[in-house]
Amino acid sequence: MNGIYLDHAATTPVHPEVARVYAELLTSSYGNASSIHGTGRAARKLLDDSRAQIARLIGARPEEIIFTGGGTESDNLAIFGTAEARSDEGRHIITTGIEHHAVLNACKRLGKRGFEVTWLPVNREGQISPDAVREALREDTILVTIMTANNEVGTIQPIREIGEILQGHPASFHTDAVQAFGEIPIEVGDLGIDLLSASAHKINGPKGIGFLYQKNGTKLTPPTSGGEQERKRRAGTENVPGIAAFAKAAEIAYESLAERHEQHESFKRIMTDALDEAGVEFRVNAGQAQTLPHILNLSFPGTDIESLLVNLDLAGVHVSSGSACTAGSIDPSHVLVAMYGEDAEELRNSVRFSFGYGLSEQDVRTAAEKTAATVRRLSGK
């Protein structure tokens, strides 16, 4: 595939070191971690080591990590698991209008099953206000689910402040950290989080692996039934090679956190400087808000996204926008709708650039030049 891949927020290439570990374990450590024989015990050890390693990175205890089949499954386990476990205590849920579909649609579904959902608004920078959480909080609130950082515009949410507000309130606090994990440091104890979702494929690990952090004592009734793996919280034979590869990817991500942070901030500057130099008109969606370093969402007045994205693809710049609808055409991003309203031009002209493993400064510069040329042609400037 020829092209410059600037869609690392969608998914990432597997890091070569992770791939090496993964490939080796696929054949060498095939045991079932629940088996009582030596082959099983070897897998079990690998599983426990991986669990401990990931737990350490977020300041959790190993038994608080539940491995899952990915970010969406983690979100679903947290939301439906809480709803089922705590519906006797209350049926009110607080979330935001900018959540990933894994949270958004899970909450919508609960809304149809007799739960009441409060959808918090965001400001034009894509940020929710902790005060809004305080105001929405009720006696019968059983779950507050707010993403750590947004996957489309990158805005980092005030998780710590929300955690403080929830101190002393019985509601479970879940955060979808799928986009943030491995990009910014997260200490669960420090943030007052009860449940946190993460995924391997966003941090150069394999697809199909995720985890849910569940603080000890947090009530959860898993929606799936089966074997007693993961302390009865996630049935199904553990994908040990995938989990070990996830741990490896997380380790690499954390070791390189500062270095990548700096590199991605510099990529952002290269991108915006090059567009400025080319005289292209653009605005940063998320404005001055603090964002994930690897996500840059830009609005290009005078362009139309359906033409812009295809042109960029044909020019070898692989980026994305909003979320693809089932029939392939682009539906307006619910995140941008929440930020700007239904009729804003940003809904029709915004592109997400996201950086990651394997990109060079030259790649970013080339992509910026191609983007500038395309935008200028389409906007007639």
Binding site: E306, N311, D313, L314, C325, T326, A327, G328, S329
Partner: protein
């Protein structure tokens, strides 16, 4: 406008619907070495209560075929434009008691305007579709010809294309018969090779037309009468009937079958008469509006040619008199049955599709037949 680029330097956007015709269109162009891009157009949202929409299924087929052929594929959404330009017109015509032709309007305003513009914004030299029609790009002008498959020829629906639009389109299937297209698809193993052809108007699909229309326009039942005022029964709403129609009248009894002769909008009465060849169904001239031609070379004020008044009808010899304001009087060599306002009248010179217009008024012996609309 003739292009002299080599195929590999010529970018062609193919409008892919997920059907066999547009699949083979893309395949043929790819085999000829063009730089082919497949694009699916979503014009209508028919998502049902279970979240299922036919566009999703069709786009799945586009993806499979594009990957088989080895071309990039994308989708574009023209739901709003389609609603504004085609569906609104469609409802307005029914409200006015006429029988609209949304396919002609869709080609004119969506496929060969909004979609063509989109293709051009992607650096395309041409837009190709799976229509059964031919276009020849000459030195001076592009000419539209009937497809060689008489039974499938779709120039009737393309009559409103201007020279500018025509100069940017390709119809690779125009030289083929439908069975050959199926055969090519089968031999290439295309995922859509045996897919059933879509029928009817795109936004209605396989659904019941009456039911669909009643969701948008209030149906007003009324009387069914003969031309002499004899009451023959009731109708379900004038919009459900078209001139010359036999089925669905529910008039029993002995004798010749009954047909729709016309509509009296003021009284909300459906006029019916016996016999397929009922004299009241015949007319000898019409007035057309929105008359346009595929060539930019000016036409003489009066000229002879052949014409079609509905799809898949044999041509009739006519004389066309242009009035200079986009309207024309078309006089037929022989009386023609069931000319229907709202439908297209399309002009031909041999195989060349000259253009056409919308049938507005119908005449016999110099008098307007106001009962047909």
């Amino acid at each position: 406008m003739a292009m002299h680029k080599k195929p590999e330097d010529t970018r062609v956007v193919v409008g892919m619907s997920g059907g066999v015709d547009s699949s083979v269109t893309a395949l043929l162009l790819k085999e000829q070495g063009y730089d082919v891009i497949g694009i699916f157009m979503k014009n209508w949202d028919d998502t049902d209560e279970f979240g299922v929409c036919t566009a999703t299924e069709d786009y799945e087929d586009v993806i499979r075929v594009a990957n088989q052929i080895g071309i990039p594929y994308y989708a574009v959404n023209f739901e709003k434009q389609y609603w504004d330009k085609v569906f609104t017109y469609f409802l307005d015509e029914y409200k006015a008691g006429r029988t609209p032709n949304p396919d002609v309007m869709c080609n004119k305003e969506i496929k060969f305007r909004a979609f063509l513009d989109h293709a051009m914004s992607l650096g395309a030299d041409y837009l190709a579709t799976g229509h059964y029609a031919r276009v020849e790009h000459g030195e001076d002008e592009s000419v539209m010809l009937r497809g060689v498959d008489d039974n499938k020829d779709q120039t009737y629906f393309l009559n409103q294309l201007s020279q500018d639009q025509l100069s940017k389109v390709m119809f690779p299937l125009g030289h083929l018969e439908k069975p050959e297209v199926r055969k090519i698809a089968l031999e290439a193993g295309l995922a859509t090779a045996e897919k059933k052809d879509s029928t009817g108007i795109c936004f209605i699909g396989e659904r019941n037309f009456k039911e669909f229309l009643s969701g948008y326009l209030p149906a007003q039942p009324g009387a069914m009468e003969t031309m002499n005022g004899e009451r023959m029964g009731t109708h379900d709403g004038l919009m459900y009937y078209t001139i010359g129609q036999r089925h669905g009248l529910g008039i029993g009894g002995a004798g010749d079958p009954w047909f729709v002769i016309g509509k009296d909008l003021k009284r909300n009465v459906l006029l019916v008469g016996q016999n397929f060849h009922n004299d009241a169904l015949y007319s000898d001239s019409l007035k057309a509006v929105q008359v346009g031609f595929t060539s930019d070379v000016p036409k003489p004020e009066t000229f002879r040619c052949t014409a079609k008044f509905r799809y898949r009808q044999p041509d009739t010899g006519v004389e066309v008199k242009l009035h200079g304001d986009g309207t024309a009087t078309v006089t037929f060599d022989e009386p023609v049955r069931a000319i229907t306002p709202g439908q297209a009248v399309v002009f031909y010179d041999g195989d060349i599709c000259l253009g056409g217009g919308t049938i507005d008024e119908v005449y016999k012996n110099g008098s307007r037949l106001d009962y047909v609309g």
